[in-house]
């Protein structure tokens, strides 16, 4: 095989590309620095479990995301089985393709004003396909004060909270839901069983 000047030019590009890929792989495979707990769990963040637990799990989630619904069951089990050893926190990450996702997040915050964030959290995932009427039905089921719920839902400060969560998620490089951080480290997982395994490993270590 005879190498022409054109071949050498092509080879140069191939070698350059391989070098760039190798550098990218090295950079991407470096261990992540954990994110501080007080950045991931702010005073406004709803949590469930032991606030002083050594193991803490933060989820960035969208109530209309089917994968989030799948994970919600595993999260409930993990919280119930490890009430003293685990702290779970929910952060909002409404996706633009889910038209009711922002309203759903605000609804959860508004229910939280009446002490029923987690009840709403569970019902929103269960309903999944959300609308004004399905949220109204949930409000009735949970026995919330409807007038207060309506006025809280329209409160711009709650919408700002949801937006702040989203922007914080974006600043962390999140682009999909659900995204989990276990003790500040982003998890690379695909299935609820992977989450269960990771959390149980962390619980075992601590």
């Amino acid at each position: 095989m005879k190498l022409t000047s054109e071949s050498k030019f092509f080879l140069g590009i191939i070698v350059g590309t391989i070098l760039i890929v190798v550098i990218a792989v090295i950079l991407l495979s470096r261990p992540q620095k954990p994110i501080e707990k007080d950045r991931l769990i702010t005073p406004a963040t709803y949590t469930s479990g032991n606030k002083n637990a050594n193991v803490w799990l933060v989820e960035f989630s969208d109530f209309e995301c089917p994968a989030c619904k799948l994970f919600a069951k595993t999260i409930e089990t993990l919280i119930n089985d490890n009430k003293d050893a685990l702290l779970f926190a929910h952060r909002h990450y409404p996706l633009p393709q889910h038209l009711f996702s922002v309203k759903a997040a605000v609804s959860a915050e508004a229910a939280g004003k009446q002490g029923k964030f987690w009840e709403m959290w569970k019902e929103l995932y269960a309903a999944q396909t959300l609308s004004e009427s399905s949220v109204s039905a949930i409000v009735k089921t949970l026995g919330l004060d409807e007038k207060k719920f309506a006025s809280d839902s329209a409160d711009p400060s709650l919408q700002a909270l949801v937006e702040q969560d989203k922007q914080f998620g974006v600043s962390l490089g999140i682009n999909a839901t659900p995204t989990f951080f276990l003790n500040g480290v982003k998890l690379d997982i695909g299935k609820p069983d992977d989450l269960k395994r990771k959390v149980e490993e962390a619980l075992h270590k601590n």
Binding site: M1, E6, L11, I13, I14, N175
Partner: protein, 145 residues
């Protein structure tokens, strides 16, 4: 004429190399279950998590990686040999490009109507493959003259 063929081969080479990089990036995300940087919101994640993206159990970007790698190697080999076998290489390239165009068309239809989410990288890769296909045809026509 010859200069035109050389220039087209260069473009095919660059586009194929870009295809290799895109496919490699998306494939590592499929294999490591990590998020994909996506201009279309969560479309890439929808695509990654859909069973449609694993025909015969193989992640879709693996097909892209093999196809684009083949095109890159063949376009490189065309620079080393300017004899009659150059046409053979071009026929091989056409074969890959035809398969590639059929594959990206099928997958784009799946994205639109089954997965209902568009992955930016798949869309760019589809356009890339269409251009490569067009350039291979153009190259064949020029080399026949």
């Amino acid at each position: 004429m010859k200069q035109k063929i050389v220039m087209i081969n260069r473009i095919i080479f660059i586009l194929s190399l870009a295809g290799v990089l895109m496919a490699a990036y998306v494939l590592q995300s499929f294999l490591r279950n990590t998020g994909i940087l996506c201009l279309t919101g969560g479309g890439c994640e929808l695509v990654r998590k859909s069973p449609v993206s694993y025909p015969f159990g193989i992640p879709v970007p693996a097909f892209g990686l093999v196809g684009y790698t083949g095109l890159t190697i063949l376009s490189f080999l065309r620079t080393t040999d300017r004899s009659a076998s150059n046409n053979k290489l071009l026929k091989f390239m056409l074969g890959i490009a035809i398969f590639g165009v059929c594959f990206v068309s099928w997958f784009t239809i799946m994205e639109l109507f089954v997965i209902k989410g568009i992955c930016t990288w798949c869309a760019i890769s589809a356009v890339d493959m269409y251009i490569v296909f067009g350039l291979v045809i153009k190259s064949m026509l020029l080399s026949r003259k």
